[in-house]
Structures are given as C-alpha cells and as structure tokens.
Symmetry: C2
DNA sequence: ATACTTGCAAAAGATTTGCCGCATG
DNA sequence: CATGCGGCAAATCTTTTGCAAGTAT
C-alpha cells in the first residue's frame, strides 16, 4: 500500500481520483534507476497520462504544490530550469547529481551536517534548512 | 580600477559601452549590504538604467550569460525563481541566506569541503562542482 | 446548498531569439 | 567590408490563474 496516500489521509488532504494516480506515479518513481529519479512536472504528467489521458498538466502542477505544502513531497531546483520532485523521506539526505546523465544518488553524512550547524551558529544564525548538492562525473575503472 | 574589466580583457571579451556599465554596476554590488548583494537581472537592469536609460534588459541578459560563460560571473539559483549573480571570487565560498531578510552571508569551511570530496569519491564520482546553501534566522541576543 | 476540484485556455514571469540597423576592427 | 553588438518586439518555456462545469460533503 502506498504511503503517500496514507500521509494524505493523516494530513487531511482529500484524495481524488487524479490525486490517487499522481500519488501512485510518485511512489513508483522510487525505483526507476535503482534509486529515485526525481521527475519534473512534465515527466510526471507523461507518466500519469498513460494511466488516465484526461488528467491535465494544470492538475499535476496544483497537486505537487499541494503535496509539497503538506510536507508530502520535496521540491528541488537542480540545474536545468525545471523543478524536480521526490516523496519526502523520514531521514534527511543530500544529493549527488551526475553531470553527464542527470542521474541522482542520495547520501547522508552526519559529519557534514554537524559542521553546518556549527558554521551557522558561529555566524549568529539558527540553522533552519539547508541544501547540499554535489555535481560529479563517474570515475571509470580501467 | 574595476577587476571585472581586467578579466574581460584577459579572456578576450570585448568591452562595449554597455558592458562597461554593467561591469561597473556588478563591481559595486559588492558593498550594498555590507557584504555582496547578489542582484538578479531585473535589479541589475534597474541600476544600469540609472546610468544609461537606453540599455535594454535583453542586453543585460546577454551580458550576464556571456560573463558567466567566461567565468567572470557566478550564477546562483536560490529560492525565489530568479537567478542571482555575483562576480567570481578567487577563493570559493558558500552562502548562508537569512530566511527573513534575504540577506546573504558568505563563508568558507575547509573541513566541509574536504568531506564533500570524500563523499563523492566513496560514491564513485569525481567532484566537479558543488552547492551548499544554509538557510537560517538570526539569533537574537537577550 | 456549500465548498472544493478539475480541465481548458489564457495569463504571467523569466529568459531567449529573430531581425535589422549600427558600431568596430 | 565583415563581423559582432544592441534595441526592440515577438517567441519560448515553466508555472499560475480565472472561469465554468462537475463532485463530494
């Protein structure tokens, strides 16, 4: 069973037919490249359309915005102009983006997180949010 | 004397009248809020217009793009939709953005940089670029 | 009945481009 | 002369919105 739907219920977000389909597509986005693929709205709409051609792209936009505001989705502004989305995870993580393929690898580094907090505090700020993106190219083994 | 102009010469970027003015405005952007203010294209155009009303916003767009491709400017996609620019610095730095005022504080943390390289290598990637943004709110002293 | 949703098309905001005259080497 | 540059307006791209009809409570 799809945990995005569960979260909607918990947050009091009404689950219409189209939202159910969008939630389903988002849930399945997890395994496309081995890890998640963080689709943009256009790509989402394409996948959603294969299930129900009647769903408009405006609805997809409205739904991802709604889900994001409810904390169900996370929005990322990686290079490339279009926003990309992923279902919110329990544990925070950052991203390494393959500059050649666009593929995304997720990682966690407690040490870096700790240092970020220290840096912010040193500057007189309370850390509210952060974004760490690494851009790299695959090391080919000879 | 304005070091952006120097860089243009070194890189073989022709310095027209309008580019000179844009370079000047960019150089002066350094001290607006105590640190740099990372203006967006609209803001740049506004400041440039005070010097020469004839300069079109298209020229500003073309110029920042040209400067960026020449390594003279750095483009940032912070939250808020519009790209913001700052003159390239010799030493790399990251940004802490005040979520209440939009003010930007620059910082460097060698330790974090080192860990980023290690993370990338561990994942099988060569680190080409990275982006670290901290979002925080000022700690008020009692 | 009332309040929320959706599809469609139009609008809006940011950025790019075609065209054509102008400047520069 | 030949190439590059700049102004203007039109075009593009992503995202939002107004409206009228449909749905759920």
């Amino acid at each position: 069973m799809n945990s995005i739907e569960e979260k909607c219920q918990r947050k009091g977000v009404r689950l219409t037919d189209q939202r159910k389909i969008i939630a389903k597509v988002l849930s399945e986005s997890k395994a496309v490249y081995g890890s998640k693929d963080h689709p943009d709205v256009d790509e989402l709409h394409k996948r959603v359309s294969e299930i129900d051609k009647k769903i408009s792209i405006a609805t997809v936009y409205r739904t991802v915005k709604l889900f994001e505001e409810s904390g169900i989705l996370e929005k990322h502004d990686f290079k490339g102009g279009k926003a990309r989305y992923e279902p919110s995870m329990d544990e925070h993580h950052d991203h390494l983006i393959d500059i050649n393929t666009g593929e995304i690898i997720e990682f966690v580094d407690k040490e870096i997180e700790k240092l970020q907090n220290e840096v912010a505090k040193k500057l007189g700020y309370k850390l509210v949010d952060h974004k760490l993106e690494l851009y790299g190219s695959k090391i080919k083994k000879k």
